[in-house]
């Protein structure tokens, strides 16, 4: 069937099934721990069942074929005819990956490829409970997509069922301690008595399938193409919200709480007989709602959530951005006009704009859980394939950040976590020998610190040896022995983010090609974030990532070079001071300034970015902005400092696309255009040492 992405039916399917798939990922990992949890098994069964149903409607046969067998497997499991074991999980989990791949194909507008016959075969192998074992050979020859036929196997199962071993209907008594969306729904239903008007909309969860995920899980390294994609995405994300809409689907704006819907009127009209029942229900309700008058009120607010296409949110964000620009412009104008009323109005506008900006940003916020959610699976699979024993802990999963950031962070985080598991944590035996517990620990933590988000990935593995890293840097010809020796230990750890640096002697399929970390860093820096690593030999490593809360609006430091205004992202700026340029030293041909006993290389931004610059015009004095990139610091000499300003990032036009050192442009408060500098890119392009 040709895939028509415009088709609303298909979109509906992708949204719903995508949500289910995402939940399935977590549920399956949970299942490994709680294999006898009936409710969980039922939920997983229904998950496959629902996807199959939708896929069947759309004639997506490969999906149907795969889900059909998975459904059968879980039917056996939920009926207690088979038990969950590691082998089963090894077969089932890749099914999820295949489904995800098929989804990606569909999202890309392609027909999904047929399921791997081997995989179907493996799955069918699981269908054989002991009694049905002889039928195996017959079963395997059955065509996959055919669910009209009863296989011998099924017939056996049916006979079993007929013989009195009848499968219990899936009357799910909710005893599990984990609450799924559905269960939450039902809880709400119970709470508010029977009679919700329509939860169709309300039940739409916030989950959304994120496309890049499976790309990453499918291959361990980031290819050039992917990297390009990634950069494209970034440009889209930073500049033109909506440019990467292809992958986005409608996403609900979450209201604080789902309001109860109480069809009291309906109920009143009912016969006395029904009333008795109703009274009972009411008695079990919280006292507040048992009051009829009070109960009537929430009835008005039936639906408090609405699905909104992210494109709309992007548009709104864009408009708010424009508003911020106008506000900036007005603030500037206000300074030149002496009018008290004007000032009051402008400062009012200032407050409202800030609030609006915050409010809109909140609508775009998503919990980082969306990214974290996949890690239990990633860690589990990897640990299993490496023969390691690892516990993954997660903290601050509810930390909210911009949707685009959530998506953009997914791949780098996966890479870093894989790295921790692969390189960080030792084999269980080695751990025991060094006096550690066999079980390694990886901690994934997110928290909001002021206007940025901090993410840490901590492992209690072997840590890194600074001297080994120095040696590698020399071996790879990245620096000579002397400069390597001069590096601080911390600098050495951060060498792993350098291009072409890999400590692994052999290339494994997990990591060790020396491509990943470099890309990880580039990507995070592109998000105006930073990444650092610290380590203690023998005790593990910590990777610290900082990213801003949002990508659309950025606090900057405005500086002037020549006659032009430029904006330096404030995240990079450490300090500003005036400098007597004569008090600088030349080391190895590079001008440096000593800041608190540390030499900091000094660059003249005007030399790079302004016309006809002459150092002498500075008359020996200059404004220096110290910026940090990772652990490194450099000083930029600028002509003039304007001050701090929040700017809305606008993408550069097609002609300037891909210019090194420029992150975008913005309109300043005085109505001029300022280029936003991309510090790492700038250094890479102009400075010798970067």
């Amino acid at each position: 069937m040709p895939i028509d992405l415009e088709d609303e039916v298909l979109q509906d399917f992708l949204v719903e099934a995508g949500e289910i798939l995402e939940e399935l990922g977590n549920q399956l990992v949970d299942l490994e721990q709680r294999g006898d949890d009936k409710d969980l098994l039922n939920t997983v069964f229904r998950g496959f069942h629902t996807i199959k149903g939708g896929a069947g409607f759309l004639a997506l046969d490969p999906l149907v074929a795969l889900c059909h067998i998975a459904e059968d497997v879980f039917n056996l499991l939920r009926n207690g005819e088979k038990a969950v074991d590691a082998h089963l999980m090894d077969v089932i989990l890749p099914v999820l990956d295949s489904l995800n791949d098929m989804f990606d194909s569909i999202r890309a507008g392609e027909d999904p490829a047929d399921a791997d016959p081997q995989q179907l075969e493996n799955l069918r192998g699981l269908l054989n409970t002991d009694s049905a074992a002889p039928a195996a050979s017959v079963v395997t020859s059955e065509p996959a997509a055919d669910d009209n036929d009863i296989t011998d196997d099924e017939f056996e199962a049916m006979l079993d069922a007929a013989a009195g071993n009848k499968p219990a209907p899936a009357a799910a008594s909710e005893t599990s301690d984990e609450i799924s969306d559905d269960e939450f729904e039902s809880l709400l239903d119970e709470l508010h008595g029977s009679g919700k008007i329509d939860t169709t909309q309300a039940s739409a969860s916030t989950e959304k399938p994120s496309a890049p995920a499976s790309t990453e899980s499918a291959s361990d390294e980031i290819t050039d193409d992917e990297f390009d994609d990634l950069l494209d995405q970034l440009h889209g994300a930073t500049g033109a919200p909506g440019a990467n809409d292809k992958k986005q689907v409608a996403e609900p704006v979450k209201a604080e709480e789902k309001a109860p819907a109480e069809p009291e009127k309906e109920k009143k009209a009912e016969k006395p007989a029904a009333k008795k029942v109703e009274k009972k229900e009411e008695a079990s309700k919280p006292p507040k709602t048992s009051d009829k008058a009070a109960a009537k009120e929430p009835a008005a607010a039936t639906e408090t959530t609405v699905r909104v296409d992210t494109k709309r949110l992007d548009d709104i964000m864009n408009l708010v951005g424009e508003l911020v620009l106008v506000r900036n412009r007005l603030s500037t104008l206000e300074g030149s006009v002496e009018n008290e009323n004007m000032s009051a109005a402008v400062s009012n506008l200032d407050v409202v704009t800030a609030d609006l900006q915050n409010a809109v940003m909140k609508t775009r916020m998503q919990p980082i859980k969306k990214v974290f959610g996949r890690f239990p699976r990633v860690v589990r699979d990897l640990a299993r394939s490496l023969g390691k024993e690892i516990t993954l802990e997660m903290e601050g999963e509810d930390t909210d950040l911009d949707k685009n950031l959530v998506e953009a962070l997914a791949d780098p985080l996966v890479h870093l976590v894989r790295n921790s598991v692969d390189h960080g944590i030792e084999m269980p035996d080695v751990r025991e020998q060094t006096g550690k517990i066999r079980n390694g620990r990886v901690l994934l933590k997110a928290s909001q610190e002021g206007d940025h988000i901090e993410l840490t990935i901590t492992d209690d593995g072997k840590g890194m040896d600074a001297n080994v890293l120095r040696g590698i840097a020399v071996d790879k010809g990245m620096m000579d022995e002397e400069s390597a020796a001069r590096l601080s230990d911390n600098d050495c750890y951060n060498l792993i983010f350098a291009p072409g640096f890999s400590t692994k002697k052999e290339i494994s399929d997990i990591s060790g090609r020396g491509v990943g970390m470099d890309v990880v860093k580039t990507r995070i820096v592109q998000l105006n974030g930073s990444v650092e690593i610290d380590s203690t030999l023998g005790n593990g490593s910590v990777v610290l990532i900082k990213v801003p809360l949002t990508l659309a609006i950025m606090p900057t430091l405005m500086v002037v070079l020549g006659s032009q205004t430029f904006a330096l992202p404030l995240v990079n700026v450490c300090e500003i001071f005036d400098l007597d340029l004569d008090k600088t030293n030349i080391v190895d041909g590079q001008q440096v300034v000593i800041v608190r006993d540390k030499p900091v290389p000094l660059y003249y931004l005007s030399e790079w970015l302004a016309n006809n610059f002459d150092r002498d015009s500075l008359n020996g004095r200059g404004h220096v902005v110290i910026v940090s990139i990772g652990t490194q610091r450099v000083g930029f000499v600028v002509d003039e400092l304007i001050g701090q300003e929040e700017v809305v990032i606008k993408p550069l036009g097609a002609m300037l696309q891909g210019m090194d050192g420029m992150a975008g442009a913005t309109i300043t408060g005085d109505g001029n255009i300022a280029l936003i500098l991309d510090v790492p890119g700038l250094l890479k392009k102009y400075a010798r040492r970067f």
């Binding site: 036929d149 009863i150 799924s180 559905d182 029977s194």
Partner: protein
Amino acid sequence: MNTRVLVVDDSSFFRKRVTEMLNADPRIEVVGSANNGEEAITKTKELKPDVITMDIEMPVMDGITAVKKIMAALPTPILMFSSLTTEGANATFEALEAGAVDYLPKRFDDISKDREDAKQLLCSRVKLIASRRGQTSSSPVQAQKRDVTPVKKPLFKKKTVKGNYKLVAIGTSTGGPIALQEVLTKLPKDFPSPIILIQHMPGSFTGAFAGRLNTLCKIDVKEAEDGDSLLPGHAYLAPGGKQMELIQRGREIIIRITDPKPGQTYKPCVDITFSSASKAYPGKVLSVILTGMGADGREGARALKSTGSVVWSQDEASSVIYGMPAAVAEAGLTDNVLPLTMIAENLIQSV
């Protein structure tokens, strides 16, 4: 008045699709939807729909439990959406037993390759079962028990001689699974003749249905296989998606299962099996047409009559859908019109 429908499914995707398909019919109006059984019960009480479409697999409360509760609280015609699997079949039979009127495959492609046809079938099915409203009670069987005043003596129009029949043939469609269950469970293990059953049903269902009947009945029930000989006290259910005929092989009469020919609407088809039976046992067949939509069985009954066999049909009051029994009755082919609860008794007396 429009047929008011409540759509119950845990998948918003399906709720939406079913709603779209139903709302496309100007005579049908989807008045609400529910995403689990519990909500379905509440909505049923609240909206009092004419028809409910019900999924089986749902969280909180599954469709079967919901059917039971709805039929107990506020009997409403329910159309089940089933997976065409063994598991789906068993669940569907449970739902039918609980009081659901009919079922359709959840994969619309299984209804018809043409989406438009599937839509029309769904809509016509919904409208038809809506017309049953008022006659539905907690269970069709119980309803009939209540509705029908016990008839002491079988209502024979024509004297039949016991032992005159070599074969009992029963054909049915909508409402048939429960009707067959009602009839066959009452037959003793030593029922003197073989029974052939033709129930319109998809291929993946008949095996499970036969198995189910076999556990419930004293007589043996199996899905007919090619080459089966006909034994007394055994019932042979025509496999879905195929055609069943009786043929002479040597001195014996055996079952022949063939693939359907293009253009045959019903698989299995009552007409085809009945016609073959009329040749295999001329004048020696007692045939019964039970509840069902359409007119399949009329031509088969005509063939049977022409060789002197006997045709009974279910009465209107006890039929879930009075289509097939009406067709034979209106064609003047039926010898005896019986309420469902009387059929087994009459079979025992006559055969």
